[in-house]
């Protein structure tokens, strides 16, 4: 009896996947807001708790199913994959542009370009130095791991273009994913320290951090009003990384290590 009821509920969740995802995520946010209000006295943003909770559930889901898509690999929660997938994520990010104060955005334009340049070069240097420190000596592997430190899309795109082997590709993707997760969790913690409280600094932040999922999560957890400014620069980051990774950056590394 108990089993049939459970089976019926699972059936509804599988059939109504996106609707189920709305309900589950809504409940998650409700719980997080209550926790933020009563457990932290409002000091921590409810959405910060919700995002961390989401990541914890993704970890649990990943362990449980052995898949790569966290909770979305559980059949009854597959709708999470559609709701939080690239299509709706980008759609919602574009929608936030409706709230952009054009004067603010234009004033910080040059700063955003500078941030994009630094946000590509700095992680790449750190990534390449780490690769060298761990005993990689060929230009292809070093470049691929360095590109992974830019974002988890730049890594494999660069690796595929210059012919890296699959172990190095996996390392490169893992580096990018780890960075994205760390940006999501770390941003609200350091926001005050790095002056991330106005549209100008949000545009610099978006360009420097790059990873769209990291920036999207980090700013949502910190202060929703900053989202469109950070997203505006961050969405150019991956494209620029994919442009310079297999070309300029690879040539530079090859010139250095021979």
């Amino acid at each position: 009896m108990d089993h049939t009821i459970w089976h019926g509920i699972e059936h509804v969740f599988v059939e109504q996947s996106l609707v189920a995802a709305f309900a589950v995520v809504g409940a998650l946010i409700l719980v997080s807001n209550v926790a933020a209000k009563y457990l932290t006295n409002g000091r921590v943003h409810g959405s910060a708790i919700a995002i961390v909770l989401g990541l914890v559930l993704a970890y649990v889901g990943g362990l449980y199913t052995g898949g790569k898509k966290g909770l979305a690999d559980i059949p009854a929660l597959a709708g999470i994959g559609l709701m939080g997938g690239a299509m709706l994520r980008d759609f919602a990010i574009v929608a936030t542009a409706f709230e952009v104060d054009v004067v603010e955005a234009r004033r910080a334009g040059l700063l955003g370009v500078l941030a994009l340049a630094l946000g590509t070069i700095l992680p790449f240097i750190v990534g390449t130095l780490t690769a060298v420190a761990f005993g990689y000596h060929d230009a292809v592997s070093i470049t691929t791991i360095g590109a992974g430190a830019i974002t988890y899309i730049v890594g494999p795109v660069t690796g595929a273009a210059i012919g890296a082997d699959s172990t190095v590709m996996a390392l490169s993707i893992a580096t990018g994913v780890t960075k994205a997760v760390m940006v999501m969790v770390g941003t609200p913690l350091v926001a005050r320290l790095i002056g991330l409280d106005n549209p100008r600094s949000a545009m610099a932040y978006g360009g420097l951090m790059g990873t769209v999922s990291g920036v999207a999560g980090g700013l949502a957890a910190t202060d929703p009003k900053l989202v469109p400014y950070g997203a505006l620069t961050a969405t150019f980051h991956t494209g620029i990384g994919c442009l310079v990774g297999p070309s300029i950056l690879f040539l530079a590394v090859r010139a250095l290590v021979g």
Binding site: A58, D90, E99, G176, G186, V190, I194, A216, T238
Partner: protein, 150 residues
């Protein structure tokens, strides 16, 4: 009409992503270059154009702002489908490369945000924040309650 707002948003997104693909192709990159950013700029331009012509109706605005308000739930869903297991089991090289670049970039944000003067913030920015947070009252009701007050 609300659907016109949603369609406007969809149109801007599709055109932006298409242009991003073209840009990637032109540059010889196997990726979309700034598609979402281009879409955002298109939407900003569309809002500017509509409001100047007095065509920015409450319905259109609501159709777009609903999706802006869904931003945080969508991001939570995105967090819940990250490959956190892979991130946690990447080993020292992954951790060092990720942490190092993160710390350096946070430092650079601190430096860059100190360049130039601090802006005091504007009401438009604050209002945008409450829409994206999903807290803003529906446009119609705000207008209604103000009528009631007068």
């Amino acid at each position: 009409m609300i659907v016109l707002g949603v369609a406007l948003l969809a149109g801007c997104t599709l055109i932006g992503v298409y242009l991003g693909d073209l840009l990637g192709l032109a540059l010889g990159v196997k990726a979309n270059v700034g598609g979402v950013g281009i879409a955002m700029i298109l939407l900003i331009a569309a809002r500017f154009w509509l409001s100047r012509r007095g065509r920015l109706t409450k319905g259109v605005q609501f159709g777009v702002e609903f999706w802006a308000g869904m931003y945080i739930p969508i991001v939570v869903a995105m967090a819940a489908q990250q490959n956190v297991v892979a991130a946690m089991s990447g080993g020292p090289i992954v951790l060092i490369a990720a942490t190092g670049s993160l710390v350096l970039c946070f430092g650079a944000v601190a430096l860059l945000s100190r360049i130039g003067r601090r802006d005091p913030g504007s009401p438009a920015v604050e209002r945008g924040g409450s829409v994206i947070e999903g807290d803003a009252e529906p446009v119609g009701r705000t207008a209604g309650s103000q009528v009631g007050k007068e």
